[in-house]
């Protein structure tokens, strides 16, 4: 596998674990702007790297998650459903990453919910 790609996989995996934990904490303390910013940046980084490597599915998913978080940053109220959706999309991202690890390519499929 491409060295760049494998580096990306390890690093993204770590970021995603942090996002997981961070989001849960954020849900409990929706006013913690620093926490939200930190999560936002992580998702953003993942999204950027995906786009750079030409991983379209991942880029779209992360973009969607980021958009939702952007709304929270702008003051939208944090709902359980919203956080669940973001967490679900992160699970999906992990699935796709596992797929890439197996075949070296983004597996085909649709992520529309």
């Amino acid at each position: 596998m491409d060295e760049l790609l494998s580096e990306f996989l390890t690093e993204t995996g770590e970021s995603l674990d942090q996002i997981d934990a961070g989001l849960v904490r954020f849900e409990q303390e929706p006013n913690d702007a620093d926490m939200l910013n930190a999560i936002f940046r992580l998702v953003h980084t993942v999204k950027g790297t995906c786009g750079f490597l030409g991983l379209d599915r991942l880029a779209k998913l992360t973009h969607a998650a980021e958009t939702l978080m952007g709304q929270y940053r702008d003051g939208a109220s944090v709902t359980v459903e919203g956080v669940s959706v973001i967490l679900a999309s992160i699970d999906r991202i992990k699935e796709i990453l596992a797929g890439i690890e197996r075949v070296g390519l983004e597996p085909p499929g649709s992520d529309a919910i």
């Binding site: 390890t10 690093e11 674990d17 942090q18 997981d20 934990a21 989001l23 849960v24 904490r25 849900e27 409990q28 936002f40 940046r41 953003h44 980084t45 999204k47 950027g48 790297t49 995906c50 786009g51 750079f52 490597l53 379209d56 880029a59 779209k60 998913l61 973009h63 969607a64 998650a65 980021e66 958009t67 939702l68 952007g70 709304q71 702008d74 939208a76 359980v80 919203g82 669940s84 959706v85 973001i86 967490l87 999309s89 649709s110 992520d111 529309a112 919910i113």
Partner: protein, 727 residues
């Protein structure tokens, strides 16, 4: 490239995107490349603090450092022997540096335990939504470091325990309000270092463990007896949750309660040399304590010698050291050609390590085992307890574990090797692999043991005939199965139709020898046990009758050998319980094939008894009498068969069973439309008029003693007759 992150983020927000719900199908991906480069550049900067190193590199470093330590030790040894040496000072410095290096490498392998916790907040969130409970997860001491290998192994058990705490421990909001607790349930996880161990505490402020439920369950599964339970503290009773297959969850929930609970947690933790215990439980909450070693790379091991070679046994699996042999009061006995050690009234399977490893060609002479005082290392793997015979025990030592080279990997007995201070390389024994070679005292046998223990408490005794045949080992058979004991003069034995027969009461009685290769005594008398089946006698020729004893029966080891039901302790001696149907089944089958009594042929019979021993004993007898036998180990199991639509012509059931007893079961069956008219026979070890009366009112047609085979057969036939007339 000069744009700040915030500007970029703003640009992203302003970019056309999907609705808040991530439905990314029509997402715009414009200007991706540009920002990606930027983001990638940023992460490079953030990474400057750490370097990613492959695990292999670290392992290799670790191995090299251990080599260095050994070489240093050898050097120190040499210098110590010479009085004045110019090497002394530089060597001292080398020694210190080596030590620091070792510590450094060890540290490099360490990771904060928080890494193992990372997924838990998410888990708790999901649990909280699913269970409809408000749960807060409080984690402290996450910076405590431990070996990454251990870290991986602790993840699953921890997840399981958090699940348990959320599902079983914490109450739902209504119950919490009723108990005067805050609506928010709290699960606290904390870690700290204590010597060479990491201690992890898992606490929840839920309702605590249900002692009554655990008590009932422990009794039901036969893990203990009422008398024992009464002596135990609540905390001790709660510790039953670590026993295999123990779950008090009334229903299988999606989250936990599949009956593979805490024992799996315990096994996983013990696998890495750790322990898990229940620290406290009360209506205010419960606390579990997990203790795991900091690292698997260094561990305490017992150094032993076997056939001139030294081996290391991991200390965590060693329970005790026992002097085995007649002189030491822990005699070694042979059962089914397997050596067993009797230790405080328990039979432990014994492994001759030298033989297992092929260091000793021949199998051990049992007499030799009896005479010489040997050392047995008692090892515990999970619930499996066994002894390993060794020649010498040296001491406990901290050893550096080295992985097994690939050349030796197929030798499953070892988990690794290590180098001792004197430079010699020795193998580390894998207790799990050795334990797998032991014929296990399986759960079934333990259960039988426990049930019989209960019988003992009730003073139910069984008359046993002890005899010898073939080997020196005592053999036993329940006296009630035997029709008569005879001594037949050897001259009267005739060969007929390929088998030995003897004239007995005006008919020919076939004789079967317990040891096939053994010829009858040339002269004198041959003791014979006479069994009768459907009026046809058959003789079992043995060497000598030893004694008749009345003892509470406890089958300790389940045997794999055909012809032996199991091993038991009778009058402080190990005896083999003989399966009579194995020896005489063929003869009885022959009779049945041409016998007149075919009333039972093909009739479906359900045998309900909680004791494995009685099921094992009665099933062949009933089958031999022509019934098609189905077994059920409890009333619940029998009723489940009913619900499944199974039909039987006859039911034979034990009365005294844990859980639902035979009387309640009979009442349920009589009330059933499908099964209501099936005749039932009650079996019990006691006979008192009140109980018999109770059985009759409950709907049993007949009542017979457990060991009274003839009455049972008779009762069954009476039942069938009555049933036939009624039908």
């Amino acid at each position: 490239m000069q744009a700040t992150l915030d500007e970029l983020e703003r640009a992203w927000r302003e970019a056309p995107g999907p609705d808040p719900e991530p439905a990314p199908s029509e997402t715009s991906v414009a200007a991706e490349g540009e920002t990606a480069t930027e983001a990638g550049g940023r992460s490079l900067v953030a990474r400057a603090q750490t370097v990613r190193v492959s695990v292999d590199t670290l392992e290799h470093l670790m191995t090299t450092v251990s080599e260095l330590v050994l070489t240093r030790n050898q050097l120190l040894d040499i210098v110590r022997r010479t009085d004045e040496s110019e090497f002394k000072t530089p060597l001292q410095r080398l020694s210190n540096v080596t030590m620091e290096l070792q510590e450094g490498v060890m540290k490099a392998r360490m990771q904060p335990i928080a890494n193992a916790w990372q997924k838990l907040p998410r888990l708790v969130r999901e649990l909280s939504l699913h269970l409809g409970k408000k749960i807060e997860l409080d984690m402290s001491g996450g910076e405590t470091e431990l070996d990454r290998q251990v870290l991986e192994m602790i993840k699953d058990p921890l997840t399981h325990m958090i699940r348990n705490a959320a599902d079983h421990g914490l109450e739902d909001p209504i119950d919490r309000a009723r108990a005067g607790k805050a609506p928010l349930g709290r699960i606290a996880l904390s870690a700290y270092q204590q010597g060479g161990y990491i201690v992890i505490e898992v606490h929840d402020d839920g309702r605590g463990l249900d002692v009554q439920k655990i008590r009932a369950k422990a009794l039901e599964t036969g893990l203990t007896t009422l008398a024992e339970l009464d002596r135990m503290s609540d905390l001790d009773i709660c510790k039953f949750i670590f026993k295999p297959g123990f779950s008090t969850a009334s229903g299988v929930s999606e989250i936990s309660g599949r009956g593979v609970g805490m024992d799996v947690v315990r096994n996983n933790i013990e696998l890495i040399g750790g322990t898990v215990e229940l620290r406290s439980t009360s209506p205010d909450g419960s606390t579990f304590l997990i203790k795991i070693p900091l690292t698997l790379a260094i561990m305490a091991a017992l150094i032993v010698e076997v056939a001139g070679e030294r081996f290391a046994i991991p200390q965590f699996s060693v329970v005790e050291l026992v002097r085995a042999g007649e002189a030491a009061g822990h005699p070694v006995e042979m059962i089914n050609d397997t050596a067993v050690l009797r230790l405080r009234d328990k039979l432990l399977p014994l492994i001759d390590f030298a033989q297992l490893l092929g260091l000793k060609a021949t199998s051990p002479n049992p007499d030799l085992l009896r005479d010489t005082a040997l050392t047995a290392v008692v090892i515990q793997v999970g619930t499996n307890l066994f002894g390993v015979l060794v020649d010498k025990v040296f001491r406990t030592e901290e050893i550096v574990v080295k992985p097994l080279s690939s050349v030796l990997r197929h030798v499953t007995m070892f988990s690794g090797n290590t180098i001792l201070g004197d430079g010699s390389v020795i193998m580390i024994i894998d207790p799990n692999a050795v334990g797998a070679r032991v014929s296990p005292v399986d759960a079934e046998a333990e259960l039988a043991h426990a049930t019989v223990d209960k019988a003992e408490a009730n003073e139910a005794r069984t008359a046993l005939l002890l005899f010898r045949a073939g080997s020196q080992t005592l053999k036993a058979v329940p006296l009630s199965l035997i029709t008569r004991l005879e001594e037949i003069s050897v001259e009267a034995i005739e060969r007929c139709n390929g088998g030995d027969v003897v004239q007995y009461r005006g008919a020919l009685m076939p004789l079967v020898y317990m040891q096939t290769e053994r010829a009858p005594l040339p002269k004198g008398v041959q003791p014979v046990l006479v069994f009768t089946e459907a009026r046809h006698p058959a003789g079992l020729a043995i060497d000598e009758i030893v004694d008749i004893v009345e003892e509470p029966l406890s089958i300790d080891l389940q045997a794999d050998t055909p012809g032996v039901i199991g091993a038991a302790i009778v009058r402080d001696q190990a005896v083999e319980m003989i399966d009579v149907s194995h020896y005489l089944g063929e003869i009885f089958d022959r009779h049945r094939a041409r016998g007149p009594e075919e009333t039972a042929r093909g009739l479906k019979l359900l045998l309900v008894d909680d004791s494995q021993f009685f099921r094992d004993m009665l099933a062949p007898l009933l089958t031999a009498a022509g019934y098609e036998v189905t077994l059920a180990a409890s009333a619940a199991e029998a009723l489940a068969l009913k619900d499944k639509g199974e039909r039987f012509d006859l039911i034979v059931s034990d009365i005294d069973m844990p859980g639902m007893d035979g009387i309640d079961m009979a009442k349920r069956i009589k009330a059933d439309t499908e099964w209501g008219d099936v005749p039932m026979v009650a079996l019990s070890s006691y006979s008192n008029p009140r109980l018999i009366e109770k059985c009759h009112t409950a709907g049993f047609e007949s009542y017979v003693g457990k060991f009274d085979r003839h009455s049972l057969m008779h009762a069954l036939q009476e039942c069938l007759k009555g049933w036939g007339e009624a039908a």
